[in-house]
């Protein structure tokens, strides 16, 4: 097997397993994720509690399952926001070109100079914390990235002969964009979305760790880490296992994205 396809394969397997976990958590968790019992607080992993228990005696495995919902929800919805606005901005810039493109891209590049996490923190400080605002902040954080990808896709496809000929035939802009350009940049959008997903998960866990992201009772792996911090020495598994799940999800999407990009390049 080729090295490139191994990356794709491992990424797809990781993402599928975690996705399945998320689906399962809707129907079943071994214990109630918020079920407290201080008598069994901070227990080490065992057959009864595979990942141990936290400071309130809650089953960590159940909480990780529950937290996977938040991770996927944040990832998918913030991609949808970023993609929608990125498509509008990047599409306008790429389709019309000229001065419009020049101005829009200058703004986009300036925003990209600010690190994503700083930009997200800035938005959250104005919007306030909570799940919805976190999603909104991460979605806005992603707009410049998607606008860039979509603009360059538009620029390339616009020059293809079949697009030019359909323009000559009198097809409207709307038809050209949705019938011809969109299907041709679809794979680029998928790659960008996959890679952005991992960025969004990292940013969400960072924000939630700082107390600026998802708030209780909504479960979040980042928040679990900030709770686990106080018990680092007497319950190292709590912080260890929770973090490993963030790494696995981010790693899965990174490898999937890289694998898909290599696959696309090979095809071209």
């Amino acid at each position: 097997m080729q090295r490139k396809s191994i990356t794709l394969y491992i990424g797809a397997v990781l993402v599928s397993i975690l996705f399945l976990m998320m689906i399962v958590s809707f129907f079943w968790t071994p214990y109630g994720p918020n079920e407290m019992n201080t008598k069994i607080a901070l227990q080490a992993p065992s057959w009864t509690y595979p990942f141990g228990t936290d400071n309130f005696g809650r089953d960590i495995f159940s909480r990780i399952l529950e937290g996977s919902k938040t991770a996927f929800l944040v990832g998918i919805t913030s991609i949808m926001i970023a993609l929608t606005f990125g498509f509008i901005i990047g599409g306008i810039a790429g389709y019309f070109g000229g001065i419009v493109d020049e101005v829009l891209m200058r703004i986009i590049d300036s925003i990209l100079a600010i690190p994503g996490i700083l930009f997200a923190i800035m938005l959250v400080s104005v919007f306030n914390t909570g799940m919805q605002n976190t999603i909104l902040a991460l979605g806005i954080m992603g707009i410049p990235t998607f606008a860039r990808v979509i603009r360059s896709g538009f620029m390339q496809v616009k020059e293809f002969d079949f697009v030019k000929s359909s323009k000559v035939k009198g097809a409207g802009s709307f038809r050209i964009i949705f019938k011809h350009i969109l299907p041709n940049i679809f794979s680029q959008i998928i790659v960008a979305s996959t890679l952005f997903f991992s960025g969004a998960i990292l940013a969400e866990s960072g924000l939630s760790y700082l107390g600026l992201g998802v708030q209780p009772p909504d479960p979040s792996w980042g928040r679990m880490l900030s709770e686990a911090q106080a018990y680092m020495t007497n319950a190292p598994w709590y912080i260890g296992i929770t973090g490993i799940f963030i790494v696995l999800l981010v790693l899965g999407f990174n490898m999937l994205g890289d694998g898909l990009r290599d696959l696309k390049e090979k095809r071209n």
Binding site: R3, I6, T7, I10, R106, I107, D109, S110, I111, A113, I114, P115, G116, I117, L118, I121, M122, L123, V124, S125, V126, F127, S198, L202, S205, G206, Y209, L210, G211, L212, L225, Q229, M232, T233, P236, I239, G240, G243, I246, V247, V250, L251, N254, M255, D258
Partner: protein, 312 residues
């Protein structure tokens, strides 16, 4: 010369757009800062008075101009929470974040470049699969979680480093370095992985070039070709990610400072958000962004100096 002018114009334009964006986000979105300071129970009269006192009743464009002129003169506004000039609040904190960022960047270069060369030299099928897995892992690990792991292993278990806090450089050089080493390493790991990846690909691309074949035919040794010819060209693309890495280092330090309880700019940002201290947040974000824009500008100029073929 034309290059310099063009870059300078784009540098100033970027600063302008970023400052405008930051100002816009903090001043146009709903919610009066005066209301936020006084709380929801405050009556309208009080809010009005405070708004006047803070200069919030001026027209928007004037406020922006005053803000920018103030910053240019080193006046960053007055922190609501601390009741003193923002510049004063930042003074003691800047050296901490600066040390953190500089050491993280040094670690990135010192570890990343030799490892990248080593990996490019041993490029085989299986070794490259394993190494690409490791670099992927480095990129995918949240730096703050890595910070916890480093604390648990090197500070708690082996007692080699302090678990948290900062020791000033003026007090004890060795202890100061120790207190920022683990957080810097936690930030650097992801960037080291990025440098390794870029450098390895770049070296492998270069070795396919004609001049390398010529050098081999001339009978030059592998090491001589690598260090005298290939590396000089291969390092160029790595330089372009240096701006990105600086951004990432500063972004990462915001979270890491909270993990290691370092009283730098990042931990200040988080506490000022909790107390909704808008002048402080606004200035902090602008300062961090300016440093990154400046770093990108420097990288652009450096690139031109190293490779005069670059045109704009």
């Amino acid at each position: 010369m034309r290059f310099l002018v063009k870059k300078l114009v784009s540098f100033i334009a970027t600063i302008f757009i970023v400052s405008l964006l930051i100002f816009f986000i903090f001043n146009i979105l709903p919610g009066s800062p005066a209301q936020a300071i006084l709380g929801v129970d405050a009556d309208e009269q009080q809010v009005k008075l405070l708004e006047e006192e803070l200069g919030l009743n001026e027209p928007l464009h004037l406020r922006y101009i005053h803000w920018i002129i103030g910053i240019a003169q080193g006046d960053l506004g007055v922190s609501y929470k601390y009741g003193q000039p923002v510049a004063e609040v930042l003074k003691d904190r800047i050296p901490i974040s600066f040390s953190l960022a500089v050491i993280a960047l040094i670690l990135t270069v010192v570890i990343g470049i030799p490892l990248g060369i080593l990996i490019a030299k041993t490029d085989g099928k299986w070794s490259s699969i394993i190494l690409s897995m490791i670099t992927q892992l480095g990129i995918s690990t949240p730096s703050f979680w890595l910070g916890f792991i480093l604390i648990m292993v090197f500070a708690v278990k082996f007692g080699l480093f302090p678990t948290y806090g900062f020791i000033p450089w003026s007090e004890n050089l060795g202890e100061a370095l120790k207190s920022v080493f683990l957080p810097s390493l936690a930030i650097a790991v992801g960037n080291i992985a990025i440098v390794i990846r870029y450098l390895k690909n770049s070296i492998l691309d270069q070795t396919k070039e004609d001049y390398v074949r010529t050098a081999i035919v001339k009978g030059l040794g592998a090491n001589e070709i690598m260090y005298n010819h290939v590396l000089r060209n291969a390092l160029l693309p790595v330089l372009t990610v240096l701006g990105l890495i600086t951004a990432d280092t500063l972004g990462g330090s915001i979270i890491i400072e909270n993990v290691f309880a370092l009283p730098g700019l990042g931990s200040l940002l988080v506490t000022s958000i909790e107390s909704r201290d808008f002048p402080l947040i606004q200035s902090l974000i602008l300062i961090i962004s300016l440093i990154i824009i400046l770093a990108n500008f420097t990288v652009d100029l450096l690139y031109k100096v190293i490779d005069p073929r670059i045109r704009v």
